[in-house]
């Protein structure tokens, strides 16, 4: 291929990717810039950047003063991080077992664990609510963590078992000869090697949990357990919507996701696994 065709090809690829980036970032940027404008400016000229006249942080003031915003924030954080932790831990453990051990019904078990990908957990809402009522878990964060862990596991098991299969058998066997227990092999050998895959699963798991409105509304609508998404709903009325406050709340809600994403994406890039075998 000639150098010229190469340039054309790569600039076309860049154009497509840039267009997609703009498209994806557009609503986010719109939320962030409008959250810093006065109510009038939001409606008059939604696309302009805040100027000296239109700059107004009233939305942020409302959010931080009204409603227990910090508490909601904390609830969301606890639920997301705890669910993420359990999904990654149990998902990786199940994946390790499915990939590593030959036992009767291995394939059946793998299919069963992955089945959840195809069945939306919300179909079971009524039953879940009944279970939570019976277990006395309504209006607790535990209820949400349990549901989200269940929701995230199928995809985690499915993706991670593929990666666990790629972890060198020799490495695990060397550890067995050195006398490491299966748990230590899992934690010190297998887990670090599938870290990039864990990061991917982490991102996929985290975002729907953070954004979810359905289960907080049904299982934990109490004031003490409201999550950020649910808490922001107070600004959305049937007749009047406080757009400043809504946009400010959304802007604040974006940050933790970005931070978590940055942490995970560093893991994706880091190549510490190099040189392990061969």
């Amino acid at each position: 291929m000639s150098a010229r065709a190469n340039i054309l090809r790569s600039s076309a690829a860049h154009a497509i990717l840039i267009a997609y980036t703009v498209l994806a970032l557009y609503p986010v940027v719109l939320i962030v810039i409008n959250s810093m404008k006065s109510r009038r400016a939001i409606f008059n000229d939604p696309l302009s950047l805040p100027t000296r006249e239109t700059f107004d942080l009233v939305g942020f003031h409302t959010v931080l003063e009204q409603g227990n915003f910090l508490l909601y924030f904390q609830n969301s954080m606890i639920v997301t991080v705890a669910s993420l932790f359990f999904v990654l831990l149990f998902g990786a453990m199940a994946a390790f077992a499915l990939a590593e051990y030959r036992f009767r019904g291995n394939l059946l078990m793998a299919l069963y664990l992955a089945l959840g990908i195809m069945i939306p957990i919300r179909l079971g809402t009524v039953a879940i609510l009944e279970i939570m009522v019976a277990a006395n878990l309504v209006n607790t964060l535990t209820a949400l963590i349990l549901v989200y862990t269940a929701q995230g596991l199928p995809l985690a098991v499915f993706i991670l078992s593929e990666f666990m299969r790629q972890v060198s058998d020799d490495l695990k066997n060397a550890a067995r000869i050195d006398g490491l227990s299966e748990y230590r092999i899992f934690f010190t050998i297998a887990l670090p090697l599938v870290r990039p895959a864990m990061a991917t699963v982490g991102v996929f798991t985290m975002i729907p949990i953070w954004n979810d409105l359905w289960f907080p509304l049904i299982l934990a609508p109490g004031e003490a357990t409201k999550t950020l998404t649910l808490g922001s709903q107070i600004f959305l009325g049937q007749y009047v919507t406080n757009w400043n406050a809504v946009l400010a709340a959304l802007t604040l809600a974006i940050f933790p996701v970005v931070v978590l994403y940055l942490i995970f994406s560093r893991q994706l890039i880091r190549g510490i696994t190099k040189g392990a075998v061969k």
């Binding site: 020799d170 060397a174 490491l180 010190t188 040189g275």
Partner: protein
């Protein structure tokens, strides 16, 4: 102090028999090489000795004690893998010392043992590096070091040289031979390379399809192969198998090593045409096409000129030829 006995050992995966009734005794201090084509079960057999594969039936004994259900870490063995299998997150010192630490040895003693092994393998300068920062040869030395520090009854090597380049392979081969002399330990070594087998082994075990074809010292196998398979597998370049009926001799095929053929321009037993010549400096390999025998390899020492497509005759040294029957077994003459 390091005897291994295999007693009617079998292994099957489902309905496939991978190892069929293998009986073998390896004596203390012996260097025993398992050799065979890929898929013959040699690695599986090694992993059964290590305890990494279950034994379907039969007994594996180390120093007389049956170890069929003993976990690998308690069999007092050490294994070196083809892929090195170093822990990527640990430096060289920790890689080598992990097994000892796991066994509960005091830290000072672990340090001392690791230092001594590192010195032996010229790894002193690299103790704080991670595997990713080492070359292939250094990684393999770390893997060997990890085995040495355990002071095992049995060293198990699973094709340890396959990932190294040719020059390094020869060098490491010599190092392993020296190591065996120095430690005097029992070593079991798996390879598909018959040169490694010939140069390292006290005793070679030739395997095919999960069965032992022949056991013996390298030169014993070379001079006295039990059947066509062993004859073809041991020795490089490979033995020629000539069509016996066409030559009017007994058996189905006549095995003759390339170095035991004489080449002549004008007279000889078999007529053919030269199809390829390989000049190696010290020796010359001439490939001759002759019907119905197929391609015949002739090995001549020194340099020899030969033209492709020229007519040539070869004559086997019948005193050094082997006769094989239709079943591949050697016929006694």
């Amino acid at each position: 102090m390091g005897n291994l006995t295999l007693d009617k050992v079998c292994k099957s995966f489902g309905t496939v028999d991978v190892i069929r009734e293998v009986d073998l005794t390896v004596n203390d201090g012996e260097f025993c090489v398992f050799v065979g084509p890929s898929g013959c079960g040699k690695s599986t057999l090694l992993r059964m000795i290590a305890g990494l594969e279950d034994i379907t039936s039969g007994e594996v004994k180390i120093d007389g004690a049956v170890v069929n259900t003993t976990p690998p870490s308690q069999r007092e063995i050490a294994m070196v893998f083809q892929s090195y299998a170093l822990y990527p997150h640990l430096n060289v010192r920790d890689n080598m010392g992990l097994g000892l630490k796991q066994a509960g040895q005091p830290r000072a003693q672990v340090t001392q043992t690791v230092d001594r092994a590192a010195k032996m393998l010229d790894l002193d300068a690299y103790l704080t590096r991670r595997p990713a920062e080492l070359s292939g040869g250094q990684r393999q030395r770390v893997a060997i070091g990890r085995a040495i520090v355990r002071k095992p009854k049995l060293f198990l090597f699973d094709e340890p040289l396959s990932n190294l380049d040719a020059a390094l392979r020869v060098q490491t081969r010599i190092e392993i031979a020296n190591l065996h002399r120095e430690l005097g330990a029992t070593m079991i070594y798996v390879t598909h390379d018959q040169v490694e087998a010939m140069t390292l082994a006290d005793r070679i075990v030739v395997l095919r399809d999960g069965r032992i074809e022949q056991v013996g010292a390298p030169m014993e196998l070379y001079k006295n192969p039990a059947n066509e398979f062993v004859a073809g597998f041991i020795g490089s370049p490979k033995m020629n198998f000539l069509d016996a009926p066409a030559l009017g001799v007994a058996g189905k095929s006549l095995g003759i090593r390339p170095e035991h053929l004489t080449l002549s321009q004008d007279k000889g037993m078999i007529e053919g045409r030269i199809s390829h010549v390989e000049q190696l400096g010290g020796e010359t390999l001439i490939y001759l096409r002759a019907d119905p025998h197929g391609l015949i390899t002739v090995r001549l020492f020194g340099e020899h000129a030969a033209e492709i497509n020229d007519r040539a005759f070869v004559t086997p040294d019948m005193a050094r030829a082997f006769h094989f029957g239709a079943d591949g077994q050697r016929l006694s003459m």
